[in-house]
Symmetry: C2
Subunit: 666 residues, 2 copies
Amino acid sequence: MATRCWARALGQVNCQLRARTSTNLWHANAKCTSSPKSLFTRNWSSSSKRSTSPPLPPPKEKPTRSKLSRVVTVARWSAIAGASCVASVLFIGGAIFLHDAFTYTDRHVERVPVNPLALHPENGGPKDLPIARVLVGDEEDEVNKQLSQKPKLVIIGGGWGAMGVLKTLQSGEYHVTVISPETFTTFTPLLPSAAVGTVQIRSLIEPLRKIVARVHGHYICGKAVDLVMSEQLVEVELNDTDGAKRNIYVPYDKLIIACGSTSTTHGVTGLEHSFQLKTISDAQAIRRRIADNFEIASLPTTSPEERKRLLSFVICGGGPTGVETAAEIYDLCQEDILNYYPKLCREEVSINVIQSREHILNTYNEAISNYAEARFKRDDVNVITNARVKEITKDGIIYTSKGSDKTLEDQFIPANFVLWSTGIAMSPFSHRVSTLLPNQVHFKAIETDAHLRVKGAPLGTVYAVGDASVLETNIVGHLLQLVDEADRNQDGKIDIEEWRIMVAQIKKRIPMAQKHLEKIRDLFQRYDTDKDDSLNLNELALLLQEISSKISPLPATAQVAEQQGKYLGSKLSKLARQREILAANGIPATDEAVAKPFKYTHLGSLAYIGNAAVFDFGNKSFMGGLAAMYAWRVVYWSEQVSMRTRALIMFDWIIRGIWGRDLSRL
Amino acid sequence: MATRCWARALGQVNCQLRARTSTNLWHANAKCTSSPKSLFTRNWSSSSKRSTSPPLPPPKEKPTRSKLSRVVTVARWSAIAGASCVASVLFIGGAIFLHDAFTYTDRHVERVPVNPLALHPENGGPKDLPIARVLVGDEEDEVNKQLSQKPKLVIIGGGWGAMGVLKTLQSGEYHVTVISPETFTTFTPLLPSAAVGTVQIRSLIEPLRKIVARVHGHYICGKAVDLVMSEQLVEVELNDTDGAKRNIYVPYDKLIIACGSTSTTHGVTGLEHSFQLKTISDAQAIRRRIADNFEIASLPTTSPEERKRLLSFVICGGGPTGVETAAEIYDLCQEDILNYYPKLCREEVSINVIQSREHILNTYNEAISNYAEARFKRDDVNVITNARVKEITKDGIIYTSKGSDKTLEDQFIPANFVLWSTGIAMSPFSHRVSTLLPNQVHFKAIETDAHLRVKGAPLGTVYAVGDASVLETNIVGHLLQLVDEADRNQDGKIDIEEWRIMVAQIKKRIPMAQKHLEKIRDLFQRYDTDKDDSLNLNELALLLQEISSKISPLPATAQVAEQQGKYLGSKLSKLARQREILAANGIPATDEAVAKPFKYTHLGSLAYIGNAAVFDFGNKSFMGGLAAMYAWRVVYWSEQVSMRTRALIMFDWIIRGIWGRDLSRL
């Protein structure tokens, strides 16, 4: 810019000088020559045609410019482009630097006000444990002091569900406490990338304390283990300094269970020899194991059989996590192992995906499954379908598949890395809550109503979201109540008009039943077996049961958890804001008074399959190589919980591109 | 840039148009008006003075420009600056993106040639273990095949010494193998920063495989445990897949011991309750403990006494590592803890540095010590000098210091974090080597001659560098040989001329004695006790002993290790290159034939002391606040082992500036 500025300034000065010189000369000549016209003509023509030799030196800019202008322009613009690139980088760098210089503070804190009850809590509850009624930071400033008077909202867990709640919850309405054994939230969809070092493990996490800070909330590092609904207390297990456990009670007015799930075992033995990929520590352990496998395989004294076993990677489960992990391991081998380890190690690598269904990615549409399978075939990733894992041993994995003669045969793959990624099961806390409530019968998660309230718990106090919860699909349970509401003529039967009312009620209670209730008259006629133009209780029970069985529960994905969390966060904010208005009008402050039931909007599924990606938007699908991969990155990048992790992940991708993955074993 | 281009182009077109219009008008008018002069005058004056109303509209550019030019120019340049900033970022981003798109490869490897001996090594050596004579990758391509015929250079360790060797060693001269239990090299000076999360732990490490790739070297993940010098074999302990140990022999032609040191205990008990800060895992453990301390201190059920203990940090040792760790913990508290933890936690923090000498940073010059102490006083970092640690317990630390009545008193500081950083001791492998060689008597490290050859080992086969080694300072051991060389007249005495020769010989053997041998005649006269103008053996022994005692050994710093490594790497390269020439001339290929003895050049010491830094350049020193801190960063940044870690560390500093430290506990 500076160069250009000088050039321009010089140009202007030249121009003015020329103009003045000409004028002065003219006046000077006007005084001493007889014919001003002749001079003018001569002068003018000299500069426009250069045909005559003028008595005065002609202005030189014009001809020079027309001859050299192109070269000069190109050179000038190149210089300007380079200079502005450097200047921009320096400018941005300078701004960052300047900002940095103001981040070092000398603040002092003294005499922080603390409620004595926070230092010496009273005991209570059924187990006579300390009850954390007041937290250490509750009176440290005005904001916290005010908040400590608000209803206590306790969130168990720090995953997608909890993040959803905290994103939409308005500050100032609740005294928020998050309880989680991990001090951070994890961006789970990129765990397969982190497991091989494509992105750093720390790039996927954001401290919970930073996230709760927005709502001036609190964080307790502990694990919820029990619930006392009668006294509204959560029992939390804390780690003490010497590794011992200590339990306390945390009181709540509203409780959100968002503690996620564990993996299902499917009755397979030897799972202790396998890895899971649900948490950051799982990703760390996998990264360590993969590094170890390659290091030991590179040793000169490792036998060829052992080397083959060390470099055999088996993934049980052909869902997105399994497929992405297989793809990431393949990438690691192609882009890094090949460059820095003995080439024999790359040659001996085998990656196997064992899937119980006919295709991998079987929840996606068929074209996607086929594309992924073709891609894996090209990449020498071995896809074994229609196979059931029987046992995982120290040395490998045994699975059953149909042989050529259609009989079941046991197969063995030697391996030193087995990933178990095949569906979810209840976490210990969910299980505990489930046993406390007699009407909770679901074996995978805590059942909630359409308002995400835990069924059977005191209304409006306990909620559950994400993997920990499942929306009720059983309409039959509501039968008598539905009949009560719909049977206008009180004849104990439901005619077609009453059936319309009942359908509206069902849709309100179980929104997921909606698409199975579209043909109202058809259903009525089909189940009216005695053809009396009305449905009696038996006919209704059968109808509702069949509809219930058709409803597929929401998948256990981050998308569902986040939407549920967001729904709950905004509902609870609304509830708090409208409490007084509702009370003034004599309306009970229930969830129904402020919000519709939860409704899930599927935004599509995606998966990375090794320098390619697939997108499933329900009726549309999109798959492809690098372009799709970059699109996949953009989606995950935009989904990040903070700008910090966005910067970190972007930087990790750049670093991988320039220098490859970090192969260090930590 | 585009904007400017258009503006410029338009300007030129305007200019040309004006010129042509004027000329045409002139000619037109010349034909139809009687007085061309009057027209010209009128026209000219109208544009210069605008006093008369001309029959033709005057050119409008000039006056507009002079009025609006400034505003337009400023706006234009602002737009250009903004646009070029955006364009530059897009350009750089695009370049990175484009590069990234070409890093995904589909290469395949098949039938990699492997020597059968690499797959099934023969046993041998005193313990009949497998000997890794050929490595798995030794025949995979032409380069490796050629290198496998070269002398085997084995480096034990992957720290500063090894890095120095690998930096200067020329590719193609040796078959290089690095043996280290850690798969990476660590930038140790920033460990205190990594321990609190100012920089990420992974930003300090670079995989050894990437570093040895430059010289087409190999890496074995294992721990050297023994040495068979007669058969030139290193015994290496490997970790097997099931965690069991397996030992093998690695043969060498030249061996470099660069395995570093451990911490000295100073006879203090209870060190198992303390932390060290020498490795990446130390930094990880410290980071975890600090996070735990703050988390537990934030819990509502932690007693006030326990909270005080949890937030009491004790650092034993007032050297640079101790001081920097104290400073980094202080920074963490000020910049992050204060923002995200209950304020009470910040208030209760106490940081204590226990130093046995009178001042912290006692190896630096006095002004620096005073500055650091003043700084720590201001920051409430408690410096306890003249104190000796007696015992470290589970709950704190007991030290002895002089009370007011000058008697020794035991003091107790409750603490849940104690850092032990008080000097070095021999690593197990160094100790083993030391016991194998009867003339090795140094208790802290392996003694080498001035050419870094391990004393007592077969000449030119075993070298030692860095913390694992110490240069010999004992001149008396060379007495008889020195007399032999210097006593020209064979009278068993050394006269002044012979003394001159002897001094030259001593300087060659023990370069560190140089500055104590400057006053040749003075020394001669002082120790010539019988005044016979010559030194007999007794007088000489006394003289040499006193000089030896004056030589202070090189400090155990990264700087020394790296310089020694670089010296050794370039010497070994030279030796390999000149071997044939030397042999042709009948000169034995010893170290003396190609290189001078090692000489250390002190470049200065520096330390970070909490948003301030100190520099000690021997006679000059420099200390100050933020400016010095940035200078300290620049020095460490430039010292990085790779551009990758440079980018990572720079990015970490930026991230800290914008979003603070990552407080997650992993």
